[in-house]
């Protein structure tokens, strides 16, 4: 797997964001994932590819704490997932078909909901939060439609709303679960362009489940870094050339 040199360099350069340590998962008798270890480092872009039923959704749900592994341990930002409390560091873009199109919620209400987390219980949403929301709306260029009902928007617009919601807290890790299902090709291309641009220019780590192999290979390289059964992991690290320099500078870029 990894050489010693690499490990040392990792330690100096970037912390682990997600660590899977000999993780297994089984539904009743059926083993979906067995003894899998993997590490996502700061500023990685990890593309997860696999056919339906390969277990990529299971894997993703375990990584964000929606499922518990039957064996092994998962750490987020170095903290065992059971004790992890800094959920505002994670932005999550769920599968598009997860929400009900008739739901009475405006774009603004949905984006604001990205700020609701365990630390905001019993707290009012104040001016600071409204300002963060304005920011996210502006960055995603959905300010004009902020009072529209979410179900009235096009697929591409909805996707930007969910991305804005995931970004409103300025997360360190962005998790995307098949974000472009059911969106036309041009909108998909724009969406990926935006995501990869963010990866190149912001201090953020990305984990994206996708079925679009050609797009992932085109952006992240032909060779998967690792695989777990039929699931392949493609990894690209931003500003690789600077990583040998053990200082804070590039982390602050």
């Amino acid at each position: 797997m990894k050489t010693d040199k690499n490990t040392v360099q990792d330690a100096v350069c970037h912390d682990s964001v997600i660590e899977l340590d000999h993780v297994s998962f089984a539904y009743q008798e059926q083993k979906v994932i067995s003894d899998f270890s993997f590490r996502v480092r700061e500023r990685d872009f990890v593309g997860v590819i696999g056919s339906n039923g390969a277990g990529k959704t299971t894997l993703l749900r375990m990584m964000v704490g929606l499922l518990q592994p039957t064996e092994g341990q998962i750490r987020l930002f170095g903290e065992p997932i059971r004790r992890f409390r800094d959920w505002e560091r994670i932005g999550y873009v769920p599968q598009k078909n997860a929400f009900n199109p008739l739901f009475p919620a405006t774009v603004r209400e949905v984006v604001l909901s990205g700020l609701y987390n365990n630390k905001k219980l019993f707290r009012r949403i104040g001016r600071e939060e409204q300002r963060k929301c304005d920011d996210a709306l502006e960055v995603m260029r959905i300010g004009e439609i902020q009072d529209k009902r979410i179900g009235q928007l096009s697929g591409g617009q909805q996707q930007r709303v969910f991305l804005a919601r995931a970004l409103v807290n300025k997360p360190d890790l962005l998790v995307l679960d098949e974000p472009t299902v059911g969106i036309d090709a041009q909108t998909q291309a724009d969406f990926f362009e935006l995501i990869f641009h963010m990866h190149a220019h912001h201090h953020m780590t990305f984990l994206m489940v996708s079925h679009d192999i050609s797009m992932i290979e085109g952006k992240l390289g032909q060779e998967p870094r690792d695989h777990c059964g039929a699931i392949k992991f493609y990894v690209r690290h931003s500003h690789e050339q600077d990583c040998a320099i053990p200082d804070l500078q590039h982390s602050l870029v």
């Binding site: 964000v64 704490g65 929606l66 409390r85 959920w87 505002e88 994670i90 999550y92 769920p94 997860a98 929400f99 009900n100 008739l102 739901f103 009475p104 919620a105 405006t106 603004r108 209400e109 949905v110 909901s113 990205g114 609701y116 987390n117 365990n118 630390k119 905001k120 219980l121 019993f122 949403i125 009072d147 529209k148 009902r149 919601r165 998790v175």
Partner: protein, 267 residues
Amino acid sequence: MEILSADFFQRALAGGLLIGLTAPLIGIFLVLRRLSMIGDTLAHVTIAGVALGFLVGVYPVGIGLAFALVASFAIEKLRKAYKGYAELSIAIIMSGGVALASLFFTLGMGYNTDVVSYLFGSIYTLDTTDVYVVLAVTLIVVIVVAAFFKEFFLLTFEEDAAAVSGIPVKVLNLLLTVMTALVISTAIKIVGALLVSALLTIPAACSLLIARSFKSSVVFSVIIAEIAVVAGLMIAGIWNLAPGATIVLLLICMLILTLLGKRGFSA
């Protein structure tokens, strides 16, 4: 007209106004989570509890409430066991409730008329204790919904996203279930077990058609329910109609008007 100033009518109005606030407040979350039928189920189970209460001579609404609570936990459990088949758990508990109710009915032949009043509602027989119980439930529901409004919104909009934000999803689901049981068991004396579902779902159904934001849909559904309760009680009082049925029929009229109005606007 003098009926409107009678004591029993005043109590009915007070109870009705309180239920007109809590039922749609909980109902909107239930409807959006595809649990519209939970109202019917819990109502039937509550009737079983009420019948048992009469049988053993304990405050019927109290026993009904206990039954509704147990049933709502059972529904949550079954909902998880049969993921994606939420309605299955509801069907099972509903038939269980009806079976128990009819069992208790036949055990105590003498009190049938009292139990029947819970089936169709008997808002005019509300006593002071009943009004205080409804008031307590209303306070609990309003405080809990206000305290966790934003979390309930996210939970209802997308349960997974709520969990990934570290929001205590299990606790909130449980709270919602308990509040549903509280509201239904106190509402059945007012509109009746067979009609309580209407007060939970129809205001939400109307507001889904007209509201753009979540906040406004909550406000609209409360306004709609209150209008139906007050107007329904007045009409029923003056023309001597069944109050529960009048309220529900008014709600349905309002839904039809909303549908027609909406069609008129979009045409």
